[in-house]
Subunit: 356 residues, 2 copies
């Protein structure tokens, strides 16, 4: 038992599930569309292939998309640099293709801009330089996640149970994860911590990805229907809800997967604390508050049985992808630069995170 | 348009979807397991068949189960009365088989007791008497639902939108429905009322049954993920949440489908009103409050992807079927005997409903 236990802790620290594996000459992409039933990596050796992997949602999660695109640029430079005097044009065309793969993920454009800047360096070292940049983007994301894991876990000392929503783990990032990274670090320190995951309709990221990822690392997890979260809180089994973020306004209002606002409202009613974990790159300093965040509604057919998806159907669906949780409902925002407790009660809000 | 409109209202009043159709010699049971893709009635001409229809969940919903069982007893008497001098023994054995079909539905035993009492009447009119009793149980349930529909709809005057949870309609009852009956009546009076339905994980009664039933009656409905309900409330699109009940304690605390407590808590936070619709037979006067209601947890595999349903899996699920909503979160309890507003603020609570 104790042997198994130390083995489990070792596995936990390293986080076995990987969305992306860079081989030096190609990128292996875990096809997240077929998890948890099938664990299959597809191998890509050119930028078009990587763009297709992003477009088809084999890889999802904003940080993971950015990292995949960076490796796509490396593959492009490897392919074109020695073959053509116009290699830069070919690479820029590939970057454009990668940029078109998903229209809304900010990390994608951020990573491609970083890669594009490297193309101005001296030709004789360009392959090494571009590879180094992609590997660094990947390593920086992983390091930020581990840092957030440590900072968040400090807040969980003494907690009996936590609930998370959606998937914010290795599969969505360069490794370890944001909210799920905090849970990994907390479980490493306190293996008796009970981890609950909401199944996260309609895409079931919790049921398909989060509990799979945790089980790969030897961490027991308990799945619940999203609508059972309030009853779980009332049972006294959880002390914290821990989520990631898609966009954080300057006042701390946080856009995240649909259902997050519900959980935060219910947490306040039940004395359960609410933690948002995200790198500072997720903060949109130009947005005064969450009112300015446009909420994307996706297609009704993600929710509707197929028989209703017909012309003039009386049955429709309202399918917002995100919601906005006001900072007043958030007890802690954890970033790689530090933690802001009770962001709505700080005179400076989360501005302390703005500068290095 | 106005012709279509009056046609729609006519359809609404009659509620086209029927869980059970009594032919006089057999019972047609709508197989709810394959809705909405397939609309298929299975025909049963003996009590054993009806017991199997209940056991296999072709028919579900406590009132509908009770009515089906009553018709099962009619079929038993029809089969045995003229064939045997020991016909009563054979019928009592069939009643026992029907009673074993589902262990927990109170209406099942209530209906079988009523039918059993008829067996003591004179032999020469027994077939007519037993048939009359079953038809009366069915008619009484439908009448109670229409009465509740009228009473509940009075509370909805001026409402723009409502949200319901699970399935409480014709499919779960003798017709028309409880919470869904109120929505039918309200839409008949105000065709612009927006009706939202939560999909109701894990069994998706909302997605599979409620929106199907409404569309059969020409009532447009919008499906949402259960976790989107809070964001819907924040949007200001709904004024009331309307649900049924599985058991109501003497103080008004209400056990209902998992997710109901979450909706009631969120409703209070958003100034949305919360209505429970159930016949007085749902009230358990022996229960002082909701603390005494045992919550059934169903199998993990209702939630878990199949690959986790293996020995020693690190992934489990917590799958409570019901939760309890305290009376303090309920604005109205609507029964066939009348409405109790703000049950927790009345000095007599819901006791006014106790006597005829």
């Amino acid at each position: 038992m104790s042997f198994l236990h130390s083995q489990q802790l070792n596995i936990m620290t390293n986080s076995t599930a990987k969305a992306l594996i860079w081989t030096g000459k190609s990128l292996d992409v875990l096809d997240q569309r077929v998890l948890p039933e099938i664990t299959r990596y597809d191998n890509y050796n050119d930028a078009n292939g990587v763009a297709e992997a992003i477009k088809s949602m084999r890889v999802r999660g904003a940080p993971a998309i950015g990292i995949a695109a960076a490796y796509g640029v490396v593959l492009s430079v490897q392919a074109h640099f020695s073959n053509s005097t116009n290699w830069k044009e070919a690479v820029l065309a590939d970057i454009e293709t990668l940029a078109q793969s998903r229209p809304t993920a900010v990390n994608l454009f951020w990573a491609l801009d970083k890669m594009k800047a490297v193309l101005t360096q001296a030709d004789d070292t360009i392959v090494d330089a571009i590879t180094k940049c992609a590997v660094q983007i990947h390593a920086d994301d992983l390091a930020a996640n581990k840092k957030m894991g440590d900072l968040g876990a400090e807040l969980l000392v003494g907690a009996k149970g936590v609930l998370t929503h959606c998937n914010t783990g290795s599969l969505a990032t360069g490794g370890y994860g944001t909210a799920l990274g905090v849970i990994r670090s907390a479980v490493a320190q306190n293996p008796t911590l009970n981890v609950f995951a909401g199944e996260t309709r309609p895409w079931l990221q919790g049921a398909r990805l989060t509990v799979w990822e945790l089980s790969q690392d030897g961490i027991p997890a308990t799945l619940i229907a999203d609508s059972a979260a309030a009853w779980l809180m009332k049972s006294g089994k959880i002390d914290w809800i821990i989520v990631g973020a898609d966009r954080i306004a300057a006042n701390g209002d946080t856009a995240n997967k649909i259902g997050t606002y519900s959980l935060a409202t219910l947490a306040k009613q039940h004395g359960v604390k609410f933690m948002v974990v995200a790198p500072t790159s997720t903060i949109d300093w130009c947005l005064e508050n969450g009112d300015g965040i446009e909420i994307e509604c996706r297609e009704a057919r993600e929710l509707l049985p197929a028989c209703y998806d017909v012309p003039n159907s009386l049955v429709s669906a309202w399918n917002p992808v995100f919601d906005v949780t006001p900072a007043t409902l958030i007890d802690a925002i954890v970033t790689e630069k530090g933690v802001v407790l009770n962001p709505s009660q700080q005179s400076t809000g989360i501005a302390s995170l703005k500068n290095d």
